[in-house]
């Protein structure tokens, strides 16, 4: 009994670490840049496929290739904001209008990136095996790649939190998220900071995608599923709150693990039920403003 509980809890934490990592980027993009980026999952997918290709073709260690692809995906996100979302922001007369239009534009991006990926890599499931040996944790066996993923998720999250809390740039980002106009008057280059946040969001998605590809099979249409989970986690933790994303991610991971233990086919249903109940009861989430 104790072993079973431990089993379910550890599985939940492992799942939660991934959920948290995919949610952090989305939370940043919405919290600061005000873009609810539905194409977030597509950047996760890009990270996964880049890692998969580098490993199967060139034999590069997935953890190294994640670090290699990150800057490239960051630049894609950065310039995407500088071009597409910047001109949307300039032509929208209120923030509400911008939020709606940027949501729809990111739906367009989703279809563009997903279908380019299908054209490039085909629609079938891919995967590889890396660090796939078992590790015994108090009687329960877990594969090593999951544990590595959890460690990296926590490390990336902590580093990111320190970046926001301690550095000058982090301070500028937090200022921009509280009041863009006032931050601009205080000498923060708002255009730059918003694009930076969007780029950091896609960077996080790429990291998450690379780590995911070590544990789960990947396919070109996997993005939307992860986007939906990220949205649920972000709403659970509070839109725009980085610690909230981690708390939300681990809560959802634990719930997912418990429900999967009882009845696997209800896991997704339970996510949506939690999501809808939460939106009705407290739309601002656990740590929301």
């Amino acid at each position: 009994m104790i072993v079973t509980i431990l089993d379910v809890v550890i599985a939940g934490l492992l799942l939660g670490g991934i959920y948290a990592l995919i949610a952090v980027g989305l939370s940043l993009q919405y919290g600061v840049a005000r873009v609810l980026n539905i194409s977030h999952g597509e950047f996760i997918m890009l990270g996964s496929f880049a890692t998969w290709m580098l490993y199967t073709v060139l034999g590069i260690n997935p953890l190294v290739s994640v670090a290699m692809c990150g800057p490239l995906v960051f630049l894609i996100g950065f310039f995407l904001h500088k071009t597409l979302y910047r001109s949307l922001l300039n032509s929208s007369n209120s923030l509400d209008v911008f939020e709606g239009r940027s949501l729809l534009a990111s739906f367009g991006l989703l279809f563009i990136i997903q279908n380019l990926a299908i054209l490039t890599w085909g629609g079938d499931i891919k995967g590889y095996s890396y660090l796939a040996f078992g590790v015994n944790l108090g009687g329960a066996i877990f594969s090593a790649n999951r544990l590595v993923t959890l460690l990296f998720a926590v490390a990336i999250g902590a580093a990111f939190y320190l970046f926001l809390a301690r550095t000058r740039l982090g301070k500028a980002i937090r200022a921009a998220s509280q009041d863009p106009a006032a931050a601009g008057l205080m000498g923060v280059n708002i255009n730059h900071v918003l694009a930076l946040c969007f780029g950091l969001g896609t960077l996080m998605a790429c990291f998450a995608g690379g780590l995911l590809s070590m544990c789960y099979p990947i396919k070109a249409t996997m993005g939307l599923e992860y986007t939906i989970i990220a949205i649920i986690v972000v709403v659970l933790g509070g839109l725009g709150s980085i610690p909230g994303s981690f708390i939300g991610g681990f809560i959802l991971g634990l719930i997912g693990s418990i429900v999967t233990y009882k009845e696997p086919s209800l896991a997704l249903v339970s996510y949506y039920v939690i999501f809808i109940l939460l939106l009705l009861a407290k739309p601002t989430g656990i740590l929301g403003k």
Partner: protein, 317 residues
């Protein structure tokens, strides 16, 4: 000034064009090949979804991603009741089921504004889909359902009647106090509430009316597919397409969404048969371009060009 005369002439011309189109649409099954009728049915289906979406989301600015939910409820109603009841009754029940769902959802989501409403409605489609999947797997032990077959002329006439009823409803709403109330909610909801508009009631009722038409469209179009399952019935594309078509056509006038839906459905049929692998890619590119460069849609663009031409005429007589 010849203004009143001009308007009445314009009024007559537009009415006679509408009458001619109506007669053509009413008699099309008599002289055109089956394919045209089937294509027209799909066009009418997307027009119903798009205009239905615009009734609520156009003036209020609430982005609803729930059309797939209401359309899917209609489809499932038809699949469950299709063999037991007469077709018109099935279609009406499909609409009423969606109407009731929309009343419930509308009443629950009153507190949600802006982006939260969009997320919620998107989540709703996925929730219903996954719940039905679970239900079919564990309770009824089936996967999907067969729908009774109806010939394509009947489908077409049902769609035409639904389309005309929807146009009438949309026209009446737009030119009534309800339409004005919806507009003022879109401009400033708090101010609208302060001027004495029952914001809650107006929002929920118009949301439910739009859902009714989506439900009827689902109930009749289900017969075209013969087999349906939760993935087909609750495909999120049925939520995205109406939004895209409305934005592409332009929401300022009632004919904007109609033109948008007609062009897109034709484009869809064309691309799916010729370039199936590029279809969704082109769809995404058009969506991004339309949002970036066509803030008032195709109709807004044409009006702008028209004003440019006639303005130049006045400038250089």
């Amino acid at each position: 000034m010849g203004v009143p005369q001009f308007t009445s002439k314009r009024f007559l011309v537009s009415r006679s064009i509408m009458l001619i189109i109506l007669v053509l649409l009413g008699t099309v099954t008599a002289y055109s090949p089956g394919y045209t009728v089937v294509l027209l049915s799909s066009i009418l289906m997307y027009i119903v979804l798009t205009v239905g979406w615009v009734i609520f989301s156009g003036p209020t600015g609430y982005i609803s991603l729930a059309p797939a939910a209401f359309f899917g409820v209609g489809i499932y109603t038809s699949a469950i009741l299709g063999k037991a009841l007469l077709l018109p009754i099935v279609v009406a029940i499909g609409g009423l089921a969606s109407f009731c769902l929309a009343l419930l959802v509308g009443a629950l989501t009153l507190r949600l504004r802006g982006i939260y409403f969009a997320i919620f409605t998107f989540g709703l489609v996925e929730l219903i889909k996954h719940f039905l999947l679970f239900w079919e797997l564990h309770v009824t032990g089936t996967r999907g359902r067969f729908v009774m077959v109806v010939d394509y002329n009947t489908i077409y006439y049902f769609m035409l009647i639904i389309f005309l009823l929807l146009l009438l409803t949309a026209h009446l709403i737009k030119h009534s106090r309800y339409g004005l109330a919806l507009e003022s909610i879109g401009q400033n909801e708090d101010a609208a509430a302060h001027t004495g508009i029952n914001v809650t009631m107006v929002k929920v009722v118009s949301f439910a009316i739009s859902a009714f038409f989506m439900g009827t469209a689902g109930a009749i179009m289900a017969t075209k597919w013969t087999y349906i399952d939760p993935y087909i019935a609750f495909n999120p594309l049925f939520s995205f397409m109406p939004v895209l078509m409305a934005i592409f056509g332009g929401m300022g006038q009632l004919y904007g969404p109609i033109i948008g839906a007609a062009i897109f459905t034709y484009l869809e049929e064309f691309l799916i048969t010729r370039l199936p692998e590029l279809y969704m890619l082109i769809f995404g590119i058009i969506l991004v371009v339309a949002i970036l460069y066509l803030p008032d849609g195709l109709v807004g663009l044409i009006q702008k060009i028209w004003r440019g031409i006639s303005g130049r005429k006045h400038a250089n007589p």
